[in-house]
């Protein structure tokens, strides 16, 4: 394994210490693994809380800040944080306005969230839990529990966060977030494996001339390996499936995000994006905004997640509203 680390046991603590130094104006770390805003949101507004393992930087804690998250509970590399830390964050966020608790659909995250939610209910914490599961790799008709939560949580934090800043009630913030949740889809593709920084092991195997569509963000298998295709062929193959999943048709307005997995260059993402735009134009679908970059990474894995969501006027307004976080700023 070639990585600039110290003792693998201390990865998460050390990365959070560095993260807090780099973004001291925006975030602080509490109780070792809870990332929160440097300047608190007024208590009269709904708070956003999320949880997830480390190793995906800048996700998820890079999106803590004005206009997005209030608390992010960090687990060890690729591992959900345990319920005690999650309940601690829900207690910190507790307020009369309530909490939107966003959970990505992964077995450990959901289990930890459910146990913390049970305790929070007993303690009278007002919250609503929302699970993202926008991966379409298992097929459009697959049950929700089979579909993983991928990069879609990040635009969802953005939209729900903007609604919360605007002073919407918990029911309203939840309804807006849920509408976005139901109209988004992600498909991932991988080309090269990543090394698990704690074990030093490759997280999956792929031959030099192969790619795999549907690969999850911890190397979980997708629809099986295939020969590498060109950027345009890959763009069309993935985008056509995504548009079908969200039932996008001519005249619809969409948001598109190409999220690099860690080792795929911005050059490649731009070339794929160009292919996506050509395909959208041919379908008569309007691209409201496109973003290329690294939002949720998997160490040095090569590949990307392609995300699309159908937007309406209200969702566009919240997507374009200002935010200031370590990993995303909108002015």
């Amino acid at each position: 394994m070639k990585k600039f680390i110290n003792n693998p046991q201390n990865l998460t603590r050390e990365l959070l210490e560095g993260f807090a130094i780099a973004h001291a104006d925006l975030v602080t770390v509490k109780s070792e693994k809870i990332v929160t805003r440097a300047r608190k949101k007024p208590a009269g507004k709904v708070a956003l809380v999320t949880l997830g393992g480390a190793g995906h930087e800048p996700a998820l804690s890079g999106f803590v800040g004005k206009g997005m998250l209030d608390y992010s509970v960090v687990g060890d590399v690729f591992a959900a944080p345990g319920p005690p830390k999650v309940i601690e964050a829900l207690r910190l966020a507790k307020r009369d306005a309530g909490i939107l608790f966003v959970v990505l659909n992964h077995a450990g995250d959901v289990m930890s969230a459910n146990m913390a939610a049970e305790m929070a209910t007993q303690e009278g914490v007002k919250f609503k839990m929302l699970v993202t599961h926008e991966d379409i790799a298992p097929g459009g008709n697959a049950p929700a529990e089979d579909r993983r939560g991928l990069v879609g949580c990040i635009p969802l934090y953005k939209i729900a966060g903007a609604a919360a800043e605007a002073g919407k009630s918990l029911d309203e913030v939840y309804a807006i977030a849920q509408r976005f949740n139901e109209n988004m889809a992600t498909l991932a593709v991988a080309m090269k494996t990543a090394t698990h920084p704690a074990t030093g092991q490759a997280i999956f195997e792929l031959a030099e001339d192969e790619m795999e569509i549907g690969m999850g963000q911890h190397g979980e298998a997708g629809t099986g390996p295939s020969k590498i295709k060109t950027a345009d062929e890959t763009a069309e193959l993935m985008l056509s499936r995504l548009l079908q999943a969200i039932k996008a048709k001519s005249g619809d307005r969409i948001l598109l995000i190409l999220n690099g997995a860690g080792a795929t260059t911005l050059m490649e993402l731009y070339i794929v994006l160009r292919g996506c735009k050509k395909y959208l134009d041919a379908q008569g679908i309007t691209l409201v905004e496109a973003r290329c970059g690294e939002y949720l990474t998997v160490q040095e894995m090569a590949g990307f997640q392609m995300f699309v969501a159908k937007l309406d006027d209200e969702l566009i307004e919240y997507w374009k509203a200002p935010c200031q976080t370590p990993a995303l700023t909108v002015k």
Binding site: G75, V77, A80, G82, M111, H196
Partner: protein, 197 residues
């Protein structure tokens, strides 16, 4: 008993991570080792002989370990043991069966998995059945030995299963031929329990 179980995991965690590489993300050995080290630490810091507070402290310590679903699941098991141990200090075979029934019952509230779903329940449930079927007169050691054998057989049987839960679920037929590392871990815990008495 708990320390012997931890010892089993200490000896086998690398093998467990390798097994997980075939069906998951290759860190199960690390995760279960961290959980059992938390158990050992809690046992070492124990004050008094009462079992209920010990199991409660262990449950909280295990749940505080990050590790996908392993922490919450094992934590629930120990929470159940705490409920089952209330007011007891010695266990004959039927009392031991009742104690484990409380632990596994609590765990089953978090995991809906049944036998055949390729999870740790494939080891837990046969072990519980063996404890419940054990002759009361044979004593707790014999009962635990039968439970350990049943857990090992259950873990071995996961080789031929497809997964219905967790990350392995997405792999479909590709996990056939590989045992579930969670079930193997549970069989090692029971091996430790049975050898300790």
């Amino acid at each position: 008993m708990l320390n012997a179980a931890t010892e089993q995991i200490r000896h086998n965690h690398e093998m467990l991570s390798r097994l997980d590489g075939a069906v998951g993300d290759g860190d199960h050995g690390t995760t279960i080792l961290r959980a059992m080290e938390a158990v050992a630490k809690t046992v070492a810091e124990q004050k008094g002989d009462e079992l209920k507070p010990l199991f409660s402290a262990i449950a909280w310590a295990v749940m505080s370990c990050d590790g996908g679903s392993t922490g919450p699941l094992l934590g629930s098991f120990f929470m159940g043991l705490a409920d089952g141990a209330a007011g007891k200090s010695t266990f004959d075979a039927p009392a031991l069966a009742a104690l484990f029934a409380a632990g596994i019952g609590k765990l089953h509230k978090q995991s809906k998995a049944q036998i055949g779903d390729k999870t740790m329940m494939d080891a837990f449930l046969p072990a519980l059945a063996a404890l419940q079927a054990a002759e009361p007169s044979a004593g707790p050691k014999a009962a635990l030995r039968q439970a350990a054998e049943a857990a090992a057989q259950g873990a071995e049987a996961t080789k031929n299963m497809r997964a219905k839960f967790g990350r392995a679920r997405n792999l479909g037929d590709r996990v056939i031929g590989h045992p579930d590392p969670g079930a193997v871990s549970v069989s090692l815990l029971f091996k430790g329990f049975s050898e300790a008495l």
